[in-house]
């Protein structure tokens, strides 16, 4: 029995794949270092992330998989739900051990599962692209905070860079406690940790920090939202299916009326 631990990074996980193949020691479990409980039985293997090993594994996968399948594997990493390491490992092993392409073999349970995870993560990514509401601050920054179900911040950066090339913007993930900040040239990952604040207050701006016109546009948006509705066609079920309640907190049109 082999118990692997790694640092939680995607490269770290790929290094685990490399080490397992080198040792021909197939993992019983793969866990992140800070979460793992050392086991009394079997062997504990602490894998140190190695960029070269990781990129050899990735290149090996690239030779046998399409860009879309590689993307699904990365999405599975960002999915972060229990067992994702195992799933990525099993998928990679099936790819390396098969002479022919396994892509599209939805009769293999974990290939179908990775595909379904891709769909879940993709939907959350799409929802963030839709439901992020920027608020303009007094110094001209467009700021939004989010708490997505999966770790999709790395996936939405490109979208917002292309869209808002001429304004500074930042999106902060209040669950994972990091954000992305675009400064008109490039986007960086940032920590906004303020030691004077409780976890709930991190990344929340005060009313006085907003641009003077911010409230006006939130109000106009609410006016718009209220007046495009056709009461004769009211359909609350359909409405909720499209915007589940847990997303309402982002949406200025779903907040108490300002007017």
């Amino acid at each position: 029995m082999y118990f692997y631990t790694y640092d939680g990074s995607f490269e770290g996980l790929l290094t685990v794949v490399f080490e397992a193949y080198e040792r021909k020691a197939w993992p019983t479990a793969i866990e992140q270092e800070h979460l793992a409980q050392p086991s009394m039985f079997g062997e504990n293997i602490r894998v140190v992330t190695d960029e070269q090993k990781a990129s050899r594994v990735w290149q090996g996968l690239q030779r046998k998989l399409s860009a879309a399948a590689l993307e699904s594997l990365y999405y599975t990493y960002l999915w972060e739900q229990a067992g994702f390491e195992r799933l990525i490992f099993d998928y990679a092993r099936l790819v390396f051990d098969s002479a022919e392409s396994v892509e599209g073999n939805y009769t293999a349970p974990f290939i179908l599962q990775v595909q379904q995870i891709y769909k879940q993560v993709h939907r959350e990514k799409h929802r963030m692209e839709a439901f992020v509401r920027f608020q303009k601050t007094a110094d001209g920054l467009f700021y939004a905070s989010v708490s997505p179900d999966f770790n999709v911040l790395p996936l939405i950066v490109r979208h917002f860079e292309k869209r808002y090339a001429d304004q500074r913007w930042a999106i902060y993930d209040t669950i994972r406690r990091y954000g992305v900040y675009y400064d008109l040239k490039k986007t960086d990952f940032v920590q906004l940790e303020n030691p004077g604040l409780t976890p709930k207050q991190q990344g929340v701006l005060k009313a006085s920090e907003y641009d003077e016109n911010e409230t006006k546009y939130q109000l106009l948006w609410q006016v718009y939202f209220d007046n495009v509705n056709i009461p004769e066609r009211k359909n609350p079920k359909l409405h909720l299916r499209h915007i589940p309640k847990r997303y309402w907190k982002y949406l200025s049109e779903k907040q108490p009326r300002l007017h």
């Binding site: 599209g104 992020v132 509401r133 869209r163 808002y164 106009l220 007046n227 495009v228 004769e232 409405h239």
Partner: protein
């Protein structure tokens, strides 16, 4: 001043809401000038109204002053409503500020007709031009083409807009004549045809010269009102079919008539025909994505769609001789015709069966709705049903039996009837 803008927005959003299109997809406009916005690829719904429709664009009228008197239209001259008009700059400011906050994908601008068609169209074009040229705006712009506007203006509109649309309004010329005396099919089809020609021409030229200016890269669409006049679904779908084929439209939108008017020229209804509208959309999908010909969906014997079941199931029940379909060997086109199998699961089936013979369990995991599909398929010649049913029995089983619940839409509509009664 702010309360003035907010009052105008109230009136002019309210007047624009019966135009159902809110699509922002299919654009190809990239942000390559370090400007604001990007309209390539998929559309995004930034919110949903309480009636469940997508809110993707700032959809407003420039003004609801109108010299026409179309019976079905809330903005008609004879209707006693508050009137308002935005300035060009006000529309530009709203669009930019909403876009910067990620509320919208862009602007859908339409208008009542004031003075004359060209005068109105010229204003619409000016908004789009200002957004593109002064604000380097690359978001989505959908402009409504005013019937009767000159060719030059339509051509200019296409340079700035991603999509153009002319509403055909009603499913037959006769209805249009009786409800919209100032309009006629000719005036609507001419600009539609001219947009189509421009689209074709721009496409041809862009093959030769890379620098050819884009013309409405997301194509053109139209809308017609369902339920305000007496046409059958067959007439409606045949018209759509002609529009798709003859004018290469991207979309035909159907708007279930909401009784907003007590005009005596209209048929009297109390509820918008929501289920009928939904069935027509399903039929439209069958024509565009499922390889169905309009004649297979509606014909002289069945001029109207069945409201209780979807048109694909309806077709299957009328064509039992085509079933059962063997999942492991049938063509993709035929698998797509099985009730309970959509485009995504059909593709998965065709992909997966290259690796292993498929069982019913595989299908379930891939997302096939077996409680419908099971009557129409076999897996390795095995079937999930032990006896044969005739079409009428099947229809009842799928609608009520085997623990299947009635369509949510149907239940909702029945509730509405009860409330009215």
């Amino acid at each position: 001043m702010d309360s003035k803008i907010s009052d105008k927005l109230k009136i002019l959003a309210d007047a624009a809401k019966y135009d159902v299109s809110c699509s922002s997809s299919g654009g190809k406009r990239k942000n390559d000038n370090k400007g604001l916005g990007n309209a390539e690829g998929m559309g995004i719904c930034h919110s949903y109204t309480e009636d469940g429709r997508c809110v993707s664009l700032l959809k407003i009228l420039l003004t609801n002053f109108c010299i026409f008197d179309c019976a079905y239209c809330v903005t008609r001259k004879s209707n006693d409503v508050q009137r308002a008009a935005f300035t060009v700059q006000e529309v530009v400011d709203l669009t930019i500020n909403f876009y910067r906050r990620n509320y919208i994908e862009g602007l859908f601008l339409s208008s009542g007709i004031f003075k004359n068609a060209d005068y109105t169209m010229e204003r619409l074009v000016r908004v789009a031009k200002k957004l593109r040229q002064e604000h380097k705006f690359n978001g989505y712009i959908h402009l409504k083409t005013i019937p009767g506007a000159s060719d030059e203006l339509i051509k200019e509109a296409g340079l700035y807009a991603d999509r153009l649309s002319v509403n055909i309004e009603l499913p037959s010329e006769k209805s249009l004549q009786s409800l919209a005396p100032e309009k006629n099919y000719g005036e609507i089809l001419v600009p539609m045809g001219s947009i189509k020609d421009q689209l074709v021409q721009a496409k041809e030229e862009s093959k030769l010269f890379k620098s050819t200016p884009k013309f409405a890269p997301a194509g053109q669409s139209t809308q017609l009102i369902v339920g305000a006049t007496a046409e059958s679904d067959q007439q409606i779908l045949q018209l759509s079919d002609q529009l798709y084929k003859g004018y290469s439209l991207k979309r035909v939108y159907y708007s279930g008539y909401v009784p907003i008017s007590t005009d005596s020229r209209l048929s009297i209804i109390t509820e918008p025909p929501i289920i009928r509208e939904n069935r027509i959309y399903q039929a439209d999908w069958l024509m565009r994505f499922y390889g169905f010909d309009v004649k297979e969906i509606v014909d002289e014997q069945h001029p109207n769609l069945d409201l209780d079941i979807d048109p694909k199931l309806s077709w299957a029940l009328r064509n039992r001789h085509a079933f059962p379909v063997e999942i492991n060997t049938a063509d993709y086109e035929m698998i797509l015709r099985v009730p309970g199998i959509g485009v995504k699961s059909a593709k998965k089936i065709v992909s997966a069966r290259r690796f292993a013979p498929l069982q019913f369990d595989h299908l379930r995991q891939m997302g096939v709705v077996l409680k419908r599909a099971k009557y129409f398929i076999t897996c390795q010649t095995r079937s999930l049903q032990r006896q044969d049913f005739d079409s009428e029995q099947l229809r009842r089983k799928i609608l009520f039996g085997d623990g299947s619940v009635r369509s949510a839409l149907l239940t909702q509509q029945l509730d509405l009837f009860r409330q009215v009664g």
